[in-house]
């Protein structure tokens, strides 16, 4: 390609030399100066024309920068390009006749490109283009026309219904949340061992959907369900973005999903010919766990499918050779003490073993992959969101009989709070609810493609047609008292997504638990069953409150309290000599040692100060 252009250029562009370069347009191919031309704009028009005629490849882009009188020709790889309809004298080149042919299937997309009706522009050529959003906006100055107004959006936004009715931050949030929604991310999930995967039980395609949604095939991989939603307060259980959900609807499978988690382990080989073994570890193994955690293992040390496992149960029993070679014992035999290194289900998790796979790893060792499945039924604390950045967590699961109902006996699946609407300005949410309701009655999908979708008036017309309140408001009857609510309540059908922030994967408590080896302080983080840090500012609060004893309890008694022997004479830390059964100070021969309570961190500090070459002494005194 480059050669071709260069040849052309040599014909057209004379190498005029430095002197006249100021008066001429510099021409660059892929950023390299190749020559000069008398008139850049003429050259640009000629080049573009030739490309549209097919003389130059469609993949070449041109840009003329007037301010510096430079013409750029780009032919290299890696430029992001997008299609536009070519416009000439304010007329789209995609004529109704061509459109008709296209509809009949006589011509294709690629032939349109060949005809120069559609061309791809890169970022640089876009700088020189004047693009109209709609055909009716065309003026003689326009150079291009968008294929469709939606194309100004990316994939994620173009899937949202009625985004033009929402405030922009909410659109951003809706896009972020759509990526967290549960659905069918792949159809062969059953044959895969993804480290974690969520699958929605009964995915539905939205009743209110957009053209790109269909075109991109999302309807076949839906990630959500159509909920009947009412916007009203609900005995305070939907305050502050909480939502109330219908317990019976959930029992019928609404929002139900499976969570697959894969574990794997292999029989590693070590230098020296040793290797791991899959087996039920014998009780003599160092680090042997409770006997019951091995109960599901078969003779080969591997669990079988459909076992109901709980946290800390062993999935694959494994033993490893000792880390260091053992010394030869008195009897002259090397005693092999194996290490326990089983694959264990993470604490706090539970489920059923879904599949067990045995293969070879790349290194040729035995590899086991175990997939554990658990059903996640919506519970208080699970997160749901509509496609308008309206997210919320379940605040209450209410039995159907206690939920409000309409005159027709429709009971909402979800109740959101009216306060979620005005300040966020998500009118699209309301419109989708209305559209969803209309779709239910008419039996059609509603088109909510941005800028070109079905208008509110059309939806209202449908509502009227079916004898409904055209604004979607209905009298709701309180499920507990049976009395009608004083206000009419907006109720409709809207697509809701279950997001993968499930309480059951986040819940964490600790009253006692593991401590760190180095500091003897509680571990950190849910995966380590850790505590929540009582930090500096929290400490300040207790001091400010004067709660001295509580502070000591937090920082010492409930953390890393240790009792050490301190020499009364020299103030250094001593120890108890169990052989001679007496306390000993490392410095003094014969001195009394007192047991002193302190934090283990302080003991570490003393050690560290000693490592600086400083001898810290603890001078003891009776408490006044």
């Amino acid at each position: 390609m480059r050669r071709k252009i260069k040849r052309k250029k040599k014909k057209k562009i004379s190498h005029l030399g430095e002197a006249i370069s100021f008066a001429h347009t510099s021409v660059y191919v892929n950023g390299r100066l190749v020559g000069y031309h008398e008139n850049g704009e003429v050259l640009l028009a000629e080049l573009k024309n030739r490309r549209r005629q097919g003389a130059i490849s469609q993949q070449v882009n041109f840009h003329y920068r007037k301010s510096t009188d430079e013409l750029f020709i780009n032919t290299d790889s890696g430029r992001a390009r997008r299609p536009y309809i070519v416009v000439e004298n304010g007329q789209s080149r995609l004529t109704p006749a061509l459109l008709e042919q296209l509809k009949r299937g006589e011509i294709s997309w690629s032939s349109l490109i060949k005809l120069g009706v559609i061309e791809y522009l890169d970022a640089e050529e876009e700088e020189g283009a004047y693009v109209a959003l709609r055909e009716e906006d065309l003026t003689p100055e326009h150079t291009h026309l968008e294929l469709d107004p939606v194309s100004i959006f990316g994939v994620t936004v173009s899937i949202l219904p009625y985004p033009e009715y929402n405030s922009s931050p909410r659109i951003t949030m809706a896009c972020a949340m759509a990526k967290q929604s549960l659905g069918t991310y792949l159809v062969n999930f059953n044959m895969r061992n993804d480290s974690r995967a969520h699958i929605l039980y009964y995915p539905q395609q939205p009743l209110v959907q957009t053209q790109p949604y269909r075109l991109l095939g999302f309807a076949e991989r839906a990630a959500g369900q159509n909920f009947v939603v009412a916007i009203t307060s609900s005995y305070g259980y939907n305050i502050g973005d909480a939502v109330v959900m219908n317990k019976n609807a959930i029992d019928r499978g609404l929002g139900r999903s499976v969570f697959y988690k894969s574990y794997e382990t292999e029989e590693r080989r070590y230098p020296g010919g040793q290797r791991d073994t899959f087996e039920i570890p014998p009780p003599t193994t160092t680090g042997y766990r409770e006997e019951r955690v091995y109960r599901f293992l078969g003779e080969d040390g591997i669990i079988s499918p459909e076992c109901e496992v709980q946290g800390k149960d062993v999935l694959v029993g494994k033993t490893s050779p000792p880390r260091f070679l053992e010394e030869i014992t008195v009897f002259g035999v090397i005693e092999e003490k194996k290490r326990e290194s089983s694959l264990v289900l993470k604490s706090g998790e539970e489920g059923v073993v879904d599949s067990v796979m045995l293969t070879d790893s790349l290194a040729g060792t035995k590899l086991v992959k175990v997939r554990v499945r658990s059903i996640k039924i919506p519970e208080v604390g699970d997160k749901f969101a509509s496609r308008h950045g309206q997210k919320g967590v379940i605040g209450l699961l209410r039995p159907q009989e206690d939920m409000p109902f309409t005159a027709d006996g429709i009971v909402p699946d979800l109740i959101i709070n009216p306060h979620a609407i005005p300040s966020r300005m998500t009118i699209g949410h309301l419109l989708e609810m209305l559209g969803g309701k209309a779709a239910c009655f008419k039996g059609n999908f509603v088109d909510a493609t941005s800028f070109t979708g079905d208008r509110e008036e059309e939806i209202r017309k449908i509502m009227k047609e079916y004898g409904l309140d055209e604004y979607g408001e209905e009298v709701l009857y309180d499920g507990i008292t049976g009395k009608p609510c004083k206000a009419k309540i907006f109720i409709g059908v809207i697509y809701y997504q279950k997001l993968h922030h499930l309480v059951s994967n986040k819940m964490h408590v600790r009253s006692r638990g593991p401590v760190q080896l180095l500091t003897h302080q509680p571990t950190e983080g849910r995966s380590r069953e850790g505590g929540l840090r009582f930090g500096e500012m929290e400490r300040d609060c207790l001091i400010g409150y004067g709660a001295s004893m509580l502070l000591k309890e937090r920082l010492l008694d409930e953390s890393d309290k240790t009792t050490l022997l301190v020499c009364e004479k020299c103030g250094s830390i001593g120890y108890h000599d169990f052989v001679k059964n007496r306390d000993r100070c490392p410095l003094c021969d014969d001195s009394r040692l007192e047991p002193i309570e302190m934090s283990y961190a302080f003991k570490l500090l003393l050690d560290e100060i000693e490592s600086l070459g400083i001898f810290p002494r603890l001078i003891l005194r009776d408490k006044a």
Binding site: D540, C541, G544, S548, M549, L551, K552, S599, F602
Partner: protein, 333 residues
């Protein structure tokens, strides 16, 4: 219980922490708002920058400002106040003349600007006299041009002399760069200045030295003493917080000011001030420069009496505030 004893803080109340939290919490709000207001021009640093300035005990504020209140006859007469303001304002040669050097002829040419002379109320002769006092004998004046000849000087000395001449003070009080007469709420006039010079101004007979004020806390400490500086600190800190509509009790500011001034000089909060001079080794080591403090303490064989809060938390004992202060003393027999 009398009303006075009700007001007394109880024994063992952690006043320091409470003060720190009470100033710190709205302070966080202020930080966020300061970033929000980015780009808004400020005459004088207010808000967080000013608070930092005060707490760091900077030698001089970024923008020193004085309020000079006047004795009765000047305070109620705008003309007289303006006259005094003009007299106070420090005028340099640079302000009324264009100074350039001529390296060929080895001379410095000072071109006086008549209009500037008039607005500043300076006479050409005065400038000449001041210049002569600095530059020595080879000074000539011809109309509005003063020429300083330095035939034997090196080029470097000429440049140095030029810069010096530019800064020669013709009239007014040093450091007072601008003055403005303001009508106070009581209808009396006072002078607000940019730049601060307490020591000189209180000598002026027309100035009410009992009410004069500067925002330069260090200067107040130098001229009026540490007690005055403490009051000024309280006032400045409170003013900063009030301007941001932050409701902080004065007593927190007072405690802060007391802590900063209790040794007779204004000390900053932080490594070079209060925190760096805490009594306990452990407390200092816990703050900043741990190793430095530990090694210094070791060379002096320092004892830590475990008096403070930090020390006791480190060793794992109850903290001597609040409930930690209560002790049971019992004498048997």
């Amino acid at each position: 219980m009398t009303s006075k004893s009700k007001k007394n803080i109880e024994v063992g109340e952690a006043v320091g922490i409470v003060a720190a939290q009470s100033i710190g919490e709205p302070g966080t709000q202020m930080t966020m708002r300061t970033f929000h207001y980015a780009g808004v021009a400020e005459q004088v640093p207010t808000g967080l920058p000013r608070l930092i300035e005060l707490v760091d005990a900077r030698k001089e504020p970024k923008k020193p400002i004085m309020d000079i209140f006047l004795k009765e006859e000047y305070a109620s007469n705008e003309a007289k106040a303006k006259e005094l303001a003009k007299a106070i304002e420090c005028t340099t040669v640079d302000k009324v003349a264009y100074v350039e050097e001529d390296f060929d002829e080895k001379k410095i040419i000072i071109t006086l600007e008549p209009s500037e002379l008039e607005t500043e109320g300076v006479k050409a002769e005065e400038v000449f006299r001041k210049v002569k006092a600095v530059a020595g004998s080879h000074v000539e004046q011809k109309d509005n041009i003063i020429t300083v000849k330095a035939p034997n000087a090196s080029l470097r000395t000429i440049r140095r002399l030029t810069n010096k001449l530019r800064q020669v003070q013709i009239k007014g009080i040093n450091k007072i760069s601008r003055t403005l007469v303001v009508k106070g709420k009581d209808g009396k006039y006072f002078i607000r200045t940019a730049g601060s010079n307490l020591a000189e101004l209180i000598k002026n007979p027309h100035v009410d030295a009992s009410r004069i004020y500067t925002n330069d806390v260090q200067e107040i400490a130098r001229v009026f003493g540490i007690e005055a500086a403490r009051n000024a600190l309280v006032r400045e800190i409170k003013q900063v917080l009030d301007m941001q509509n932050l409701n902080v009790d004065v007593r927190h500011c007072m405690l802060l000011a007391d802590a900063m001034t209790m040794d007779g000089e204004i000390k900053s909060i932080g490594r070079h001030g209060l925190s760096g001079e805490k009594a306990g080794v452990l407390a200092r080591a816990a703050f900043e420069e741990t190793v430095k403090h530990l090694i210094n303490a070791a060379t002096k064989a320092e004892d830590d009496k475990l008096i403070g809060v930090t020390e006791n938390i480190i060793v794992g004992q109850t903290v001597p505030v609040g409930t930690g202060l209560v002790k049971l003393k019992m004498k048997l027999g």
